[in-house]
């Protein structure tokens, strides 16, 4: 597995961690934006390798997590309708709406299908002209090009039975919302590598300059993450605030131009509500005028949805870095991955779910004790 195993080398990782220990003279709080990075940090134990003062804050970059409850309820209502084939990526199926999840809708007779590409949903629409095929298009800039392509292809093929339930969100406005909020504690950012593979990183230098914050485009493997953290710490220690690219094997400054062109054609910027955060101006995409006919919200007029978030949930504080997941009074008690109360517990990439699943309610020292007798070398 070229490009993967060499970025998971434990010895090199230890060496890089030692280097970070040598560089860091003060405590720093660094936010990784993307849920995939959060997952990798916790799964591999990268946070345990860092100096005590270097704190990773887990940002809002898990699209499943920040999808508003209201939209999930809409998805459930559409999926339950007769004559609808409702397609989604797998991990949306388990996300609970107010009363049910897509698994339950499927069990009750709804035609809910997991697809690996929105283009598979377009194909389904072509094969089932008597059905309405809806794709649940959730995600950041990373998944947007494929979703844009699906409506583009559907339009070109004249498919009137395909639509997209869109909830696209954008990284730069979310970063600005975090940095501009009163009491912000984040001092450096690891930018989401795969978002930048599409969008490039030309959007970030003005933000880095405005808020005097270093930003490092970072990948997802252990060595990628350690390199991103190291570069952020080097900048912080030197008092610099530049945008750097530590994911050069994938990301260029300009990004994927043809994808950006398609995105600009199919989508337009809109205000979006982020679960756990609230409405962020100009922080998402919806279908542009030319493609509005493919908007599932327009095609299926779903009304009468009232949602209420649990008063016990502190996911907003977790997303801003004000508290760690295990510091929430409901963590692991009322709120578990099986019965999530809010944004950060609903998907495995959410910070609370990652902490719960990988046992971060136990101290690293205690965990190490359990594993200390290992004499494995086979």
């Amino acid at each position: 597995m070229k490009y993967l195993t060499e970025f998971r080398n434990g010895e090199i990782a230890q060496r890089m961690a030692r280097e970070i220990h040598q560089i860091a003279t003060r405590p720093w709080k660094i936010m990784e934006v993307c849920g995939g990075q959060t997952h990798s940090i916790i799964k591999n134990g990268i946070d345990q390798m860092l100096p005590a003062g270097i704190e990773m804050i887990h940002g809002p970059g898990c699209p499943v997590c920040v999808t508003p409850l209201e939209l999930i309820d809409k998805a459930l209502a559409i999926a339950a309708q007769p004559g609808v084939i409702f397609c989604s990526f797998g991990d949306m199926l388990r996300v609970p709406g107010t009363d049910a999840d897509l698994f339950q809708v499927k069990g009750a007779g709804g035609d809910v299908r997991v697809v690996y590409s929105p283009l598979d949903a377009v194909e389904l629409a072509a094969k089932n002209p008597d059905k309405q095929v809806v794709f649940f298009g959730v995600g950041f800039e990373t998944t947007a090009p494929a979703n844009a392509m699906s409506v583009h292809v559907a339009k070109r093929r004249g498919l009137t039975n395909f639509s997209l339930l869109v909830s696209h969100v954008l990284v730069p406005p979310a970063i600005e919302a975090i940095l501009g909020a009163p009491g912000n504690v984040v001092q450096g950012f690891l930018l989401a590598g795969h978002v930048c593979s599409v969008m490039g990183y030309w959007e970030y230098p003005p933000l880095a300059e405005k808020y005097k914050i270093p930003m490092v485009v970072t990948g997802f493997e252990p060595l990628d993450l350690l390199d991103g953290i190291r570069r952020a710490v080097v900048q912080l220690e030197a008092g610099r605030h530049e945008v750097e690219n530590a994911y050069g094997r994938i990301v260029t400054f300009e990004g994927n131009k043809p994808a950006q062109k398609l995105l600009a054609e199919v989508f337009e910027v809109t205000d979006r509500a982020w679960r756990g955060i609230g409405v962020i101006p100009k922080s998402g995409w919806r279908l542009s005028e030319a493609y509005r006919e493919f908007d599932a919200e327009e095609r299926f007029h779903i009304s009468g949805i009232h949602t209420e978030e649990s008063p016990l949930c502190h996911s907003g504080d977790v997303l801003r870095g004000a508290i760690k997941p295990a510091e929430c009074p409901a963590f692991g008690k009322e709120c578990t991955p099986r019965h999530p109360l809010g944004a950060t517990m609903v998907s495995s990439e959410g910070a609370c779910a990652a902490y719960f699943n990988y046992g971060r309610f136990i101290s690293a020292e205690d965990l190490a004790k359990a594993g200390s007798g290992l004499t494995v070398n086979d």
Binding site: G36, K43, M49, T142, P222, P337, A370, G371, V376
Partner: protein, 340 residues
């Protein structure tokens, strides 16, 4: 095979009449041939030795029915054989029940039955009784199979999920995740340089050799099927009230399985196996068990992956390749691909 003019299963094959009888006489009996079955009584009458019996049942609904490295038929035989074998029993007799969907091609049924017969012969068990039901088209998925099995417990061997002890070495008989990814790669149309094949196999021979070598030093065995290695280790941690510590770097995973897991966002520790067994053995016996395993065709890639601990009862802790530690929890439901 003189199977009356029908190329596919019709409702009559499940009735008590002529068509059903022909299926039994022309397909099942010739394939499974043994005295207990040939009597065609309402129940098979079996000779058993004195002592204790073990009994187990399992139902198979895999899709696709035929996959690289096996089919639903041998899976149904091996699955029940393995459940008996990891209980310390010598598997002897199986029953089989078919639920067939109207319109299911007889040629496919014949292929499934042939593979069951071959798997039973290889595992040294007899299929002594059976049943067939047919459901209307659209009410089944071609073919479902239930098997139940009886085995005779070895005298003096007591293994069970509650007997893992702190200090026990944890050994796995080979690479993990092969079966699940063989199925997923067919379902999702993934192609790799080398095809991923299911590890579907009967483990009673391998287990017999281990027990013959070290006997009572084996405390617990389990075949990590659905939910994979992580679920098995968590279950035994719960049943025995102990902790488990494993070293991620020591887990045997084929590169193509790892690649497929990366693509689909899955973790091989949660992916199903159908021909692997995890042993919990006294530490002083670990090296000998590894030698026995590696000398057997089904255990060449056996590895020592960790140990049972007194700390953190009922939890599975892994040392990551980075040298850090994490908990590996029981999955809530089916492992689903992540979104990005």
């Amino acid at each position: 095979m003189p199977l009356v003019g029908y190329p596919t299963i019709v409702m009559g094959h499940g009735g008590g009449g002529k068509l059903g009888n022909e299926l039994v006489e022309n397909l099942f009996v010739p394939a499974f041939r043994n005295v207990a079955l040939e009597n065609l009584g309402d129940a098979a009458v079996l000779d058993v030795t004195a002592g204790k019996l073990a009994m187990s049942t399992d139902t198979f609904v895999v899709q696709p029915l035929f996959f690289p490295g096996g089919c639903i038929g041998e899976l149904a035989v091996n699955g029940t054989v393995n459940d008996l074998a990891v209980s310390g029993a010598v598997p002897q007799y199986l029953s089989t029940g078919f639920i067939l969907e109207e319109g299911f091609p007889l040629a496919q049924l014949a292929a499934i039955v042939e593979s069951m017969a071959a798997a039973a012969a290889k595992a040294g068990v007899k299929i002594v009784t059976g049943d067939t039901k047919v459901v209307e088209r659209g009410h089944g998925d071609g073919c479902y199979i239930n098997t139940a099995g009886i085995g005779v417990l070895r005298p003096g061997i007591t293994v069970g999920p509650q007997f893992a002890k702190p200090g026990d070495a944890i050994l796995v008989s080979g690479t993990i995740g092969d079966h699940g990814m063989a199925i997923m790669s067919v379902r999702e149309g993934l192609e790799f340089e080398s095809q991923i094949r299911s590890d579907c196999a009967a483990l009673n021979g391998l287990i017999a050799e281990v027990l013959a070598a070290v006997g009572t030093q084996v405390h617990t065995m389990r075949d990590p099927t659905r939910g994979g290695l992580a679920s098995t280790l968590n279950e035994i941690a719960q049943s025995s009230g102990v902790g488990m510590a494993i070293d991620e770097a020591s887990l045997p995973v084929r590169p193509e399985v790892q690649s497929a897991c990366e693509l689909l966002g899955l973790d091989p520790v949660y992916v199903a196996n159908e021909g692997k067994v995890v042993f919990f053995v006294a530490p002083e016996a670990a090296e000998q068990v590894l030698e026995v395993l590696r000398a057997h065709p089904l255990g060449r890639e056996a590895a020592r992956i960790g140990q049972v601990t007194a700390e953190y009862p009922r939890m599975l802790v892994a040392r990551t390749a980075m040298g850090a530690n994490r908990v590996i929890p029981i999955q809530i439901g089916e492992q689903l691909p992540r979104i990005c």
